[in-house]
Symmetry: D2
Subunit: 340 residues, 4 copies
Amino acid sequence: MKTWNVSVVGASGYTGLEAIRLLLSHPNAKLNRLYADRSAGKTMDELYPALAGCVPQTLLPMDELGNDNSDVIILGLPHGVSAEAVNNLIKAGFKGKIIDIGSDLRLKKASLYEEYFGYTHQYPELLEKFVYGLTEFYPEDIKKADYLANPGCFATAMQLAIWPLVKNKVSDDFTVTGITGSSGSGAKATNGTHFSSRFGNVSAYKVFEHQHLAEVYQSLGRVSDVKPEIHFIPVSGPFVRGIWMTIAFSCAENTDLNTLYHEAYAHSPLIRLQEGIPQLKTVVGSAYSDIGWVKKGNHAVIGVAIDNLIKGAAGQAIQNMNLMFGVAEDTGLTNPPIVL
Amino acid sequence: MKTWNVSVVGASGYTGLEAIRLLLSHPNAKLNRLYADRSAGKTMDELYPALAGCVPQTLLPMDELGNDNSDVIILGLPHGVSAEAVNNLIKAGFKGKIIDIGSDLRLKKASLYEEYFGYTHQYPELLEKFVYGLTEFYPEDIKKADYLANPGCFATAMQLAIWPLVKNKVSDDFTVTGITGSSGSGAKATNGTHFSSRFGNVSAYKVFEHQHLAEVYQSLGRVSDVKPEIHFIPVSGPFVRGIWMTIAFSCAENTDLNTLYHEAYAHSPLIRLQEGIPQLKTVVGSAYSDIGWVKKGNHAVIGVAIDNLIKGAAGQAIQNMNLMFGVAEDTGLTNPPIVL
Amino acid sequence: MKTWNVSVVGASGYTGLEAIRLLLSHPNAKLNRLYADRSAGKTMDELYPALAGCVPQTLLPMDELGNDNSDVIILGLPHGVSAEAVNNLIKAGFKGKIIDIGSDLRLKKASLYEEYFGYTHQYPELLEKFVYGLTEFYPEDIKKADYLANPGCFATAMQLAIWPLVKNKVSDDFTVTGITGSSGSGAKATNGTHFSSRFGNVSAYKVFEHQHLAEVYQSLGRVSDVKPEIHFIPVSGPFVRGIWMTIAFSCAENTDLNTLYHEAYAHSPLIRLQEGIPQLKTVVGSAYSDIGWVKKGNHAVIGVAIDNLIKGAAGQAIQNMNLMFGVAEDTGLTNPPIVL
Amino acid sequence: MKTWNVSVVGASGYTGLEAIRLLLSHPNAKLNRLYADRSAGKTMDELYPALAGCVPQTLLPMDELGNDNSDVIILGLPHGVSAEAVNNLIKAGFKGKIIDIGSDLRLKKASLYEEYFGYTHQYPELLEKFVYGLTEFYPEDIKKADYLANPGCFATAMQLAIWPLVKNKVSDDFTVTGITGSSGSGAKATNGTHFSSRFGNVSAYKVFEHQHLAEVYQSLGRVSDVKPEIHFIPVSGPFVRGIWMTIAFSCAENTDLNTLYHEAYAHSPLIRLQEGIPQLKTVVGSAYSDIGWVKKGNHAVIGVAIDNLIKGAAGQAIQNMNLMFGVAEDTGLTNPPIVL
């Protein structure tokens, strides 16, 4: 059986943590080294006692990255930090593949980072080297990729729903509501993730302005000459894991959503289709994306549920890694969710 | 100071409970008798230990309603049961005012009960006798009303947002997402309110088909010749109290939402307006409705937050009662929410 | 009707917030000035949008305290800061009464601050000037007090349960488990109150070493020559408000807990007694303390539920204020909890 | 590699569901047939959409059990129903092994069912045929067993903590507080698992009288001639999965808990020991039991966290099954918890 070594950078953050957790039960990938910035020198047990006894590695400082000889490195780092780490890695002569879960390498035009993220990209020359890894849509590109930029969580859910509609010119105007759990905001304690304010609460943020729209527009632009308009209302929900999204639009009365989605995802083992809007918990803890729909007359709504840390981050990274190493895309990812 | 007696029917259900709780601190209304069906003979303490020592009355059986001589009776009863109780009450010669929190008397056309609720209304002759009590829009009708049908929770939130838009012909097509807490499903244990399935979960139900649309269309039809189309996605959220709703629509780029809403609610003491979408918890436990908005180009979203049991049920019943008895509509309703 | 002016210091913190919220519906106390440190210059609306329109005052900086002429000042400040503010206030010639919700002035011996809190008390001469305000036990002292130190939240729950047992020499050894909500940790975002780690979680902290034991031992020492031993396990629970505590102990088989507690609280309007252990939610949002018990053979457990921000902090401050100003202790505090 | 077939009876309930979920990723056990009572004829997808695509079997009616030829049958059935199903199975000549997750076959004396459960056991002759499966304590018995009675969830947590103490005569009097999630109450909607009453709430039930004490006393009676007294306070917590338990007791001041527990669990791969009380979430979703302690002077508290559906039910059933089929006890059970 083919095996390969994987190192994880940013092991103390939530996406790094989730990559490690998923790699522990992957049949082909062997967890090699772990890196962190401020948590270097600690073990995963110390950071996350839930992992006690499961991860023997001690976290290495970032400056040891230069002599890593893994077959692939997965990075889960904050805005800006990620591109720098990738740049250093390549400069240091790293020979393996690179998968960046962060947002620094998803967009092709550096100017979009100014527009959507509000900062000047320091390594614009890297952008063209990275393949955008929405697994279901770009499998051939991904199989050939050495450097991969993993999609954002909201961007993943949104594209899974909208792509078949845009490709088939069903609509070009979408009202999207996406509710995300607190784990999407990362491990650092902030007012937005304070238990006392989030518990039993619902709130919106960055309405019509979420930065994930940049990659969605970029990616959908490759599908069709339809230029869709997406009105996106991001919502913070009172739960930890998962994204639950609805996409509402007008369409011709005879649109056959059932056929459309079944054709689109006929070869996608981690997409589960259903009539009716899926519930959030049907995917939490798993790599599955559940997609369903309701249509009435000339109006319809698509529902998508994903685990933001799995299909929305570390799980899709591993799905992409699988293709990059020539194994089935769902290798190590077929466990059902924890259900309750 | 003017005072009046109030009896509550359906005291063991959540809306009855909430009416009782609010009446306890009302300066003019005096809680008189409480009625229940299966819980007759019990005290409120036994049903809700949280009320221990606060409500001395024992619950009376429904058949004692005939000799009630309160100034007003508030009913919080299930579908179908409510109209029958009202009919019996009127037949028994009850002289006071009647406020029905249920849905049986909200619609003017009996046929709409078949279409939206799936049952044949047994007392169609009652329908024209009841004034529809969305306080902010029909204060003059309500002041003169003897019999009042209190609006539904989703219907209240939806109209508070849409009414100013339809009246001013801003748009006629709305995509509405409304997330409600478990208390909206009542006190009876069901699969939909099972803790193990609802906790950490989000799900949709009755998509495009919620029965509250009937009263919304009926009520908005009185405002303007615009016939709005409302695409409503009702959502069950993992919290107990509150409705958080967004209403998305296209509009002329120069639409001035700020002026529009401030004009609409200039005389509404329980409506709080803000720039930006309100959070859910800013109203929970209070009679306030928080409304805000975001507009970008020719697309906008209105956010509304209400407590489903207060403004969405018992609180609006009391707001209406206040007008029916000639006191300020916010009497006994100005306490701020519990905040945390 | 007797009225008096109240200023609140530390208005941006949770206990200050709660004091303000409760004062808004107090019939005698008039909210005068609000003070804060970093939030000076802001309004309560800005800090807590839930209060929009309810609190007109702008927060003043701490250095304006010197010219406050309220009848009473309530302070909700962190460890150490509180004693300094009180000292400045007295030095500046403040003529009114002072109620400190913090822990700086609860203990009589300065050395206990070293032992239990780990810091050297800077104003030991203040300690003897403050009356310890566990309302139910020291009403006569409190009525005469000018300066009052409000008890801690766990300390309040614990004493309400244990006091009658120690006084009647029922037992001198107690195993106590107290579960508290996240609001007990204050408004600042920390790892312990991060939603992603606290949601669905339960954890213990400061086992056998919680600082509230100091004031409990001090206070119980005034009741009887029994020197009780309390083994206290503080627990963080996945909810925002409330403390739910059990106190287990051995006792003579014929101990009559019912009589004992009814005698102890015969004149306490905010204590509610019951057979069986109370639930947490029966008090949340109210000033009530619910106490119940189960006894089997020679072993028993007492259960206590309080709202940590009300009876455990701001509500008891107001209960004490009532006695200090000669009105009934439950004035403004009798509203039932929000139930659901 | 050794493989065997497993059928699951009671597949629609939570423990059956969990057994199925765990068996899906077991390397040796092959999921054979599934049985249910009222849900017969349905698929697992229909009952639990989270499992969509993961479990092909349709649920068979109970009366098809007679011709099952699996190597082992795992039963997750309610009180009383279980013993009857087992009796029928044996009478029908079933040749394989039987693992009952329910409580019907745990006690050796039929009279204890009257005393602790309140019903008359109908098949007392079965009781001696079943081995009590607390894996860590009875591995040799379990390896030889054909018929196994799986321990209760609270009973498992309690024994893991108390066993080493009783065996080493550290104490004979324990005050135990165990907080359980809603999944412990099963799939049926009841008042106790109503979201509106359980959310944000904490409550006690069956104080000093929980039926799991019967099996704990029976099992501990085999270890030592110390007759321990256990004062158990069962608590319902506002979360779905897990049991978090503290065990408080007095002990000699020089008791070395560290050595004691490390010796007791030196050969137990699924027990994780730590200094300090474990958090609940460190085990949720995994088969691990986390155990830790705090000692001060002559008083100590042990903390235990287990997933009530895994180590407390289906996971321990599989751990026992592993021993019964001669493979390592942690086979298929080493995945770490989901962490967040």
